[in-house]
């Protein structure tokens, strides 16, 4: 049940039957682009709202509660404000790079959204190297951050950008390796294949302890990858004022801001897809009645529920932990996470070879 493929196919066939092949693909791309952009903007705004509400809850505050019921329109009002604000031009900045940097950051995260499976068939593009694609695209964002820091011609920005570069390049390894562990289990890099391989149980549950280790490492490294939480060294407010985006204003700042939240969503979505069975419902072996009830909940809800849970955990990190120092950050990756990850990979390969996982 709840298969979106017929719906998607019907849209597809509508365009292919009414237009020439060239125009059909152009129109489909346009439709898809608009859909993803709208989804991106709305989700980004409501993630900001969620973060503000959750952090308020953790800090004995109420959070936004004036604009609209429960302050639901607060972030939209903020976006309008940011859109109307003046774009400050820095006199000695490198104009071209300064302007292009926010776009690189945001394009990288929009492109990664495209390959995430929200439900069966509800996926813009199902590449056979989906995991590799997401890793490659999401690490493109750091180029934007580096450019932003360099082009701003501000000393704080350069420090922030260099920190971000060192951080993302290091933690990219851990993200990649922990995903690789699960790819060894699933035997495929195609996201839809990875999900179908979890029909009989999520990899987190049937992968023994190594899968759990990989999950924890992925969460830590993923948080670091998004420059958030205890790893927000690139913008370290109390040290570097705002790090790489110190000199940005208005909508360009909003791009960085939105991209941060969407990167968090992407990290959480990938964790959901690979470790927690994506849009698959929660099943307990042999509990048929329970499983049937679970099946009635649409997969989109499952997907977003799991993603929201992981996002909540990441926000929890951010609002309770102090920030790491740059050398501690790199030591954590190179001295602890990476060796552990490599060991884990060997262990998982062995498990898979012996077919000891469920």
């Amino acid at each position: 049940m709840y298969d979106f493929s017929p719906f998607i196919d019907s849209i597809n066939s509508f365009f292919t039957s009414n237009f020439s092949p060239f125009w059909a693909s152009v129109l489909l791309m346009l439709l898809l682009g608009i859909a993803i952009l709208a989804f991106y903007a709305v989700l980004g705004l409501y993630l900001v709202y969620a973060e503000r509400k959750i952090c308020a809850r953790m800090q004995n505050r109420i959070g936004p509660n004036r604009v609209g019921p429960l302050g639901l329109f607060q972030t939209i009002a903020d976006l309008i404000k940011l859109l109307l604000k003046e774009l400050i031009y820095i006199r000695n900045a490198d104009g071209f790079l300064f302007n292009i940097a926010p776009f690189i950051v945001i394009v990288a995260s929009i492109m990664a959204i495209g390959s995430i499976p929200f439900a069966k068939g509800l996926q813009a593009i199902d590449l056979n190297i989906g995991v590799l694609y997401i890793l490659a695209i999401s690490s493109m964002g750091v180029i934007g951050v580096l450019i932003a820091g360099w082009a701003s011609n501000s000393k704080y920005s350069v420090i922030g950008a260099m920190r971000s570069g060192a951080q993302v390049i290091s933690y990219e390894l851990s993200v990649g390796l922990s995903l690789l562990c699960m790819i060894v289990f699933a035997g495929s890099m195609q996201l839809s294949d990875i999900i179908t391989s979890q029909q009989d149980g999520w990899w987190l549950l049937k992968g023994h302890i190594p899968a759990f280790i990989a999950f924890v490492i992925y969460l830590i490294a993923g948080t670091a990858e998004t420059n958030r939480g205890p790893f927000d060294l690139a913008e370290a407010e109390s040290e570097l004022t705002a790090g790489f985006h110190t000199e940005y204003s208005g909508i360009k700042f909003a791009f960085f801001f939105l991209a941060e939240y969407m990167n968090m969503f992407i990290i959480a979505a990938v964790a959901t897809t690979i470790f927690l069975g994506g849009w698959l419902p929660f099943h307990i072996y042999n509990f048929t009645a329970f499983n049937n009830v679970m099946d009635y909940i649409p997969p989109v809800f499952w997907f977003f529920g799991k993603t929201a849970f992981i996002i909540y955990v990441m926000m929890w990190f951010k609002w309770t932990f102090p920030r790491l120092r740059i050398d501690q950050l790199l030591a954590l990756e190179w001295k602890y996470l990476l060796p552990l990850n490599l060991l884990n990979l060997v262990l998982i390969s062995f498990l898979t070879l012996m077919k000891w996982h469920f």
Binding site: M58, Q59, P230, A236, E237, E239, R325
Partner: protein, 373 residues
């Protein structure tokens, strides 16, 4: 001292100098650190103060002694009561009068309450310096309770001008004792929360343990007083060394550690909050009856030189008054704790990372208006 403050080779071209401040989130005011970096490492820093210099000492020469209070409030605004008390004690000593025990008790209670409030705010801001943003709201939530007590009795929350030469501006509010006792029980429950949130955190300990080592000799050389000095084993608590007001009547411990790093400067303040609660508990039920204000014809110091020191939340505050017998002081000098504590920063934070500089300057608990006066 052999070593100069900063050893600078101006010909060196590879220096990467950033200005932390005057507007910077971690200096908590208008202080500027000219920071020379080598990568992430701090080579040296030159503190530049004077951005909020208001000429308080010069202004004081044209004010009568009771009017001095309103300026002392604005030096270290987080221990306003204690600053007032310093001036009041100095003038009383000069006039050779003694206030009633009731006044002494109330002064000490107010001073200890301000100490707790100040340490709460410091704790909040210190967490923020390290990137733990939630501490700020925990600290301020509990500080509100103290400010409410102040507001009820003194009529204002931050700068009270309540303790005046000769006594107090007014008697305490009828609710005062009850609310202080409520606060003691309330805060005893809340203090362990502070430890749960920050002290035991692995990242926090990694960030502070062994960072910014200050030896006892350094602390004495640079006259680093208060909790920052006591973290290095320098016994400098004026409440113990030269007890004033009601401190001779109470039992309390001077908290000292010998480790001298950021973490132990932090621990001193955390333990001091417990000690202050103990002091409050001993005093609040035993406030004796007595006169609130001495019946003095004119409040002015006779000709001579007078010095009085007290322990503020940040260290030793000295008031030095030179009087020629006029209603206004001829010269007044404040030995402010923050000014002395600031200049150890270069020595302590050299060869640490930028993030450590922020942690160390946070652990010194600087209040900028007190540096510049």
């Amino acid at each position: 001292m052999e070593e100069t403050l900063v050893d600078i080779d101006f010909k060196e071209k590879e220096e990467y100098i950033i200005n932390m401040g005057p507007q910077h989130p971690s200096t908590h005011g208008v202080l500027r650190f000219e920071t020379c970096l080598q990568g992430e490492k701090v080579k040296y820093i030159i503190p530049h103060c004077g951005y909020i210099h208001r000429g308080i000492e010069k202004m004081s020469e044209s004010l009568t002694y009771p009017q001095l209070l309103h300026l002392t409030d604005r030096m270290d605004y987080l221990s306003a009561h204690i600053n007032n008390e310093a001036v009041a004690l100095c003038v009383e000593n000069a006039m050779e009068v003694e206030v009633s025990d009731r006044v002494k008790y109330i002064r000490t209670i107010l001073a200890e309450l301000s100490r707790i409030a100040s340490h709460q705010l410091w704790w909040s801001a210190f967490g923020m310096d390290l990137g733990a943003l939630t501490t700020f709201f925990y600290g301020l939530r509990d500080r509100e309770k103290i400010l409410d007590i102040f507001e009820e009795t003194t009529g204002s929350r931050l700068i009270q001008s309540f303790i005046t030469p000769g006594g107090l501006m007014a008697d305490i509010h009828p609710n005062f004792q009850r609310r202080v006792k409520e606060f003691i029980t309330y805060f005893r429950k809340k203090l362990p929360e502070y430890d749960q949130l920050l002290t035991g955190n692995v990242i926090f300990r990694e960030r502070t343990l062994g960072i910014g080592y200050m030896s006892k000799e350094d602390a004495i050389d640079y006259a680093v007083t208060g909790p920052s000095g006591r973290g290095s084993g320098f016994h400098c608590d004026v409440r113990k060394l030269a007890p004033y007001s009601a401190y001779p009547f109470v039992q309390f411990n001077e908290i000292t550690y010998t480790e001298g790093d950021t973490y132990h400067r932090y621990l001193v303040r955390m333990k001091e909050m417990w000690e202050s609660l103990n002091i409050l508990e001993q005093l609040v039920d035993n406030i004796p009856q007595g006169e609130i204000m001495l019946n003095l014809k004119a409040i002015k110091a006779p000709k001579g030189e007078y010095y009085q020191r007290v322990e503020t939340a940040r260290g030793e505050l000295g008031v030095y008054i030179v009087s020629d017998g006029a209603p206004t002081p001829a010269r007044i000098k404040y030995r402010s704790p923050n000014f002395s504590n600031l200049f150890i920063l270069n020595k302590v934070s050299a060869n640490h990372k930028i993030a450590d500089l922020v942690a160390i300057s946070g652990s010194l608990d600087l209040v900028i208006p007190d540096i510049d006066r």
